[in-house]
Amino acid sequence: MSTAIQGGLHRDTKGSKLVRYSLIGISLLFVFLMLILPLITVITEAFKQGFAVYSKAVADDYTIKAILLTLEASFFAVAINTVFGLCAAWSLTKFKFKGKKILATLIDLPVTVSPIIAGLIFLLTFGRQSPIFPLLQDADIKIVFAVPGIVLATIFVTFPFISRELIPVLESQGTDEEEAAALMGAKGFTIFRRITFPHIKWAFLYGVVLCAARAMGEFGAVSVISGHLRGKTNTLPLHVEILFNEFQYVPAFAVASILVMLAILILVARSVIEHKGRKK
């Protein structure tokens, strides 16, 4: 962030001081009201009836199951998107081929699709009215209203998160180093591990964090595809919704507080990674 400019031009007259302080004031007020206060609300609502009620809600069986399912879906989303992101970034930045631009656009497509629609398309692909539904049934594979559907929808909504962090870094790095290594006889994996990966390490980690954050919090898409089976297909955000709609406010906020803490953790990790990545 450039702070150098202020010295010369931006710190003189009284009028400019007034502008500066009011702009800072507006910003702080906005950030506090819109962003910080909701967080505080979650925490205060969660502890409204004391710690005992809170810990009971958090240690509830359904909550634990929801946590596990959320972790499972997030794990798969991160794993698949890691494989995908690395492959896509390598293919798109190290080679030139026809249709490359279209491929890049298609990869970015999922973020523009409403989560509800993301859920819907998997419903249509694997659900009862899908032409492949009989096949799935014969093979005894359940996707819709089951864990695989949740995993797929989660992968969809986080799809470009890792590749789009990697591609610009690899793009600007060029291909010379890899070519030099290949000339000396290094094989694909060695080139990736020794030459390419150090360049993208931080961007990769950053992408993983963003991907994990979105995966854990995904609500709309998962809501469509899950079928809301408590203890079976309920992720943490869905569990929050159910509790809230049943007017169990304190447990709802208690469970939400877990997600708030994860979000804060992610923000901290994000800024640490960004800081380290910039230094390099």
Binding site: S2, A88, L103, T112, T175, F219, F244, L267, R270, S271
Partner: protein
């Protein structure tokens, strides 16, 4: 100049894996939406989207998304400006907090904002004194969408502001232009593409937003029912054709938004690269 490399290994493998995963996760499911809607006749489709309740949900969705994005465009520029040009205590924390809407699950944001803006809540109670209701009205939806959209504008404007050559403004300052004039005539024009990009991204996201809105909206037909919500309720009634039709309209709207953003962004990228 980049070239197709004949020595770097892995083209077949990585492109193959990329295409395979892309097909399974994105292309086939999206295609099934098209296939499914192709089975419907045009009159069926028109029937669905001209239902008054559906039409009004489009109106609510577009209106609230537009207003929220407008608010975000203004607040986003102010925040980006403050974060780039000024130093003040807590700056780094504020900068990090901007990203909160990306990190916080939308459902959590939804219930928190609802609790906060309901008549019994801290903010809602304050406004209730003046007879203004926030939660369960369109204002509430807009508030939730402002929350969701703010990082898009800030993160679009911030880098441009950072790259903006100060010599440029200094030159204008030396020429005796007043501070206000410099901002309107010199800085703002440079920021316009970035603001538009941020606005477009936020708008696209807001159009499809569900989790944070569903709690605060109250979901009254014709009043506070947004399009994603109608899709959801059609699905709960197993009316897949209606759901798909409405989804298709929303999808086209967000693709158009994205396309416009891309056009502006490409021009913006050229400026960013060309400039200092």
């Amino acid at each position: 100049m980049k070239r197709k490399s004949v020595v770097i290994p892995g083209f077949g493998l990585t492109t193959g894996v990329t295409l395979a995963i892309l097909s399974v996760v994105v292309l086939i499911p999206l295609a099934s939406l098209v296939v499914f809607s192709a089975q419907m006749s045009a009159s069926e489709i028109i029937d669905v989207i001209t239902r008054p309740r559906v039409l009004s949900s489009f109106k609510v969705s577009f209106l609230t998304a537009f207003v929220a994005s407008l608010i975000n465009a203004v607040m986003g520029v102010i925040l980006a400006w403050v974060l780039v040009r000024y130093t003040f205590p807590l700056k780094r924390i504020v900068d990090g907090t901007i990203e909160l809407p990306f990190a916080l699950p939308t459902a959590v944001a939804g219930i928190a904002l609802t609790a906060l803006t309901a008549d019994t809540g801290l903010v809602g109670g304050f406004f209730a004194n003046f007879g203004i209701k926030i939660a369960f009205t369109r204002i509430g939806i807009t508030v939730a969408l402002v929350f969701i959209g703010i990082p898009f504008v800030v993160r679009a404007v911030q880098p441009v502001l950072e790259k903006l050559d100060p010599a440029y403004e200094e030159a204008a300052g030396v020429l005796g232009a007043s501070r206000m004039r410099i901002f309107w005539k010199v800085i703002l024009p440079e920021l316009i593409p970035a603001i538009f990009t941020g606005f477009g991204l936020a708008f696209g996201r807001c159009l499809g937003e569900y989790g944070s809105v569903v709690f605060i909206a109250g979901n009254m037909p014709f009043e506070t029912e947004i399009a994603p919500l109608i899709i959801m309720s059609e699905l709960q009634e197993y009316d897949y054709s209606s759901a798909t039709t409405i989804a298709l309209v929303m999808l086209v709207a967000s693709f158009i938004t994205l396309f416009l953003v891309n056009v502006v962004q490409n021009r913006n990228a050229k400026i960013l690269k060309g400039g200092s």
